[in-house]
Amino acid sequence: MKNKLRLTIEPFTNGIAKNNATFRLMLGTCPTLAVTTAAMNGLTMGLATTFVLLCSNFIISLLRNVIPGKVRIPAYILIIATFVTVVDMVMNKFLPELHETLGLFIPLIVVNCIIMARAESFASHNAPLPSVMDGLGVGLGFTLALTLIGLVREFLGAGAFFGIEIPVVADFAMTIFIMPAGAFLVYGFLLVLFNVAVNAFQKKKVAEAQGGQAK
């Protein structure tokens, strides 16, 4: 029972930290660099991708024994494109300003390698529940990364926090952080920090496990 629970929870936690798509696997770099000029953009893009990941993983997992191997890629793209179009239409209706800002990057979620990778490597081989947990974990990990990059870039480049201008910081804003070069700089620094933190945590966990075995 405990093992079953672990197998269900593990894909979720792995997606956020150990196998974080942006900081550990370096996937989905194009939207990561392009839309993170503001924290809100990063958050919205991340949540839109999470929704698509969650739904496509669930459906692909349900149909994993039905879809013939020969046409699995077109079938996955068809499923993913459907959910992306749903997100696009819903955002256009209810969040028109964000929809305009994110522009082309919303339809481009169809070809986001994170979604295709999870469909091909996880959802097509696992049951619906672990697949949903995997989609949720990877999606939230991606959202976390995009929001973090957006926060730093917006703070340094525009002196703002989620669109709210911070009086003194705004006077010393460094425009380069909003520009593409700033995206690479922030991405690089956060990549180092995230990997150092995750590696340290994993080492501590291994040391604890070894200590427990020795006792």
Binding site: V66, V71, V86, P96, M179
Partner: protein, 208 residues
């Protein structure tokens, strides 16, 4: 003899059909077709609930941008010759005589999307300028679309801005000075283009 032949043919035909029906290719096509059908049905349902009434959205936004009076009529812009890099999308007349012009500039950092503004002109003077639709860089280009920046156009005579476009000779250079924002130059130029286009439309179509 002919009867036996026809039975044989029928059985052969059945076998071919059976083979085709259970072949991998048929299964693949059937599964793809089924997924496409379900996807189409899902999207048609979602589309039904998310259809955007652009005209209603525009009116709602105009109501937010100009609260002084209600719109009473829409001007006919068909046949209006737009200036280079700008398009007049709509023009309305409010009950207090103000003219609300929806002007789009193709000049922008995100030129594919452009910048669309509401320009309210009352008695020949620009009353207010507000952003309707844009996709400029947040925190950078968007600074040239906030109220603080756009308010520099308030109180400027439409004639002065229109003359920049209509008469390009130096003697007609207007006294009004438009400030550009450092780091948002392209957006600033886009805003100016849209406001100038609106002012020109006002002089050519409303004042006449």
């Amino acid at each position: 003899m002919p009867k036996n032949h026809s039975v044989k043919t029928r059985n052969g035909f059945r076998q071919i059909l059976k083979k085709a029906f259970f072949s991998d290719s048929f299964k693949a096509v059937a599964v793809l077709a089924l997924i496409a059908l379900v996807a189409s049905l899902t999207l048609s349902v979602v589309h039904r609930f998310t259809t955007v009434d652009e005209a209603a959205r525009l009116r709602e936004k105009i109501g937010e941008a100009y609260t002084a009076a209600e719109i009473t009529s829409e001007l006919d812009i068909e046949g209006y010759e737009n200036t280079e890099n700008s398009v007049i999308l709509n023009a309305f007349i409010a009950s207090d005589g103000a003219c609300i012009i929806v002007s789009k500039s193709q000049k922008a950092y995100n030129a594919g999307h452009g910048i669309t503004l509401f320009v309210v002109i009352k008695d020949g003077i620009i009353n207010s300028v507000a952003n309707y639709s844009s996709a400029e860089t947040p925190g950078l280009g968007t600074r040239a679309l906030n109220h603080t920046y756009l308010s520099q156009y308030e109180g400027v005579a439409a004639e002065e801005l229109a003359y920049r476009v209509v008469f390009a000779s130096p003697s007609d250079t207007p006294s009004v000075n438009i400030r550009y924002l450092s780091g948002a130059t392209k957006t600033s130029v886009g805003v100016k283009t849209a406001v100038e286009a609106a002012a020109t439309f006002y002089i050519r179509e409303v004042v006449k």
